[in-house]
Symmetry: D2
């Protein structure tokens, strides 16, 4: 289903999260319960060896969940991460990282979801990392 | 005990992690099994409302564990996060965030530790976030 | 694909894990990379209110990952949990709980997977809990 | 400080959690924000090799947090685990396991804490496992 947020609202919220711009994070898809984001492998996020850094992948996963929530309930910019758990499964090959978030539970006050991170250059059957997240949703939205 | 890494090695490794400079992350203390790092509340990491962003705190916690490992076993720059789990306990008041990492197990191939994050402006009995992390240590160091 | 463990080996390993019998945990399906187990809602695992207890669901999820590994690599009874993370999403209605485990990475020394827990009586689109697990695989198997 | 629950209430709540009796879990200490519990190494919880099973340690950790909450806010038997994350750090030597829980945040609706698990036979500086937990606290208590 169509996301419950329009382009203008999305642009306004993106401006409040300047690290998205800094890292080059882009939204590839948004629909109810889902968001797909990409992170380019710029030199600012690479570790020695050419691997995208852990914190950059955490930022990407956290952002993917945020936008999946916005796609599901509208422009609730004060939704906040309450917990995040990430497991790195294999070093990504050089190149763009894609985060695919799916919301597993959307309650009134809490949302829970998972994010698979993939290297665009590699087999989609082999995620490079897996994340689970809980967000709190403000009661007064 | 004194950290097992000298200033020159530390400076060289910091250069490989440019996001430390970008975020203004500084090392306040390093000793065997421990590291304390700080993150200033610059506008680039603030969410609406003046709260330091979740990803910035994750980056700080991850960095604290990395330097606690380096303090314990020397300049092993290829130590990599294999998992990180963070719980946000209260919104931090405006100002610097301090991360205090303690290694709970240092094995040959894996290190496990916890990081408490505090707002400098607030009661040290009330951490703003708590993180547990596992790092893999390369066998060929 | 067919599981890499036969009925006799499976029976032998089950005997070494007496809590499976105590709780009434049964294996419903096993194939490479996957296992489905069930836990009946006996009075020994119910909390006040008729909800299956958290620890019983953790035991079920942990067992599901164990048997998914055995299905994938054979009778490696010394495979051990190194970490487990569970999120409870909604109180299960009374009745049997089903755990569906899928291995997301099977390395030489580590396996990582996720387990969805469902109440048999309720909508399969609404898991009651979600678990991620890492197991270590002994090198000398 | 003294626990906010008396012996009679404690006995009544223990009866509702029959797995405590089955496993032989005992409460060694309770005070505000803290609880220490023990689990004997009975044959029902041992894996091949004489190691206490993962699920038994999870049950112990989860129980420790439950009683730390009861010690802090009184007989709130409907407090429920919302998430648990455990890392196993070293195989415990044979013998009793002790769980030491400390609450890190006690809010109106959520409590967060950590539990260190120790083998009584071994060095207290070397926990065998580390757990973090979130509990929900019913609003109508």
């Amino acid at each position: 289903m169509a996301p419950k947020i329009d382009e203008a609202e999305l642009a306004r919220i993106r401006e409040q999260l300047p690290w998205l711009e800094t890292l080059g994070i882009e939204i590839a898809e948004m629909s109810e319960g889902r968001a797909v984001l990409t992170l380019p492998a710029s030199k600012d996020v690479l570790r020695p060896g050419g691997t995208v850094s852990g914190p950059a992948m955490m930022t990407l996963a956290d952002s993917a969940m945020f936008f999946a929530i916005l796609a599901s309930i509208g422009p609730v910019e004060m939704a906040l991460t309450t917990s995040l758990s990430i497991n790195f499964l294999r070093p990504p090959p050089p190149g763009t990282i894609r985060a695919d978030c799916r919301i597993l539970k959307l309650g009134k006050r809490l949302a829970y979801g998972e994010v698979f991170l993939y290297a665009e250059a590699s087999d989609p059957a082999h995620p490079v990392a897996h994340t689970t997240l809980t967000y709190s949703i403000p009661p007064d939205r």
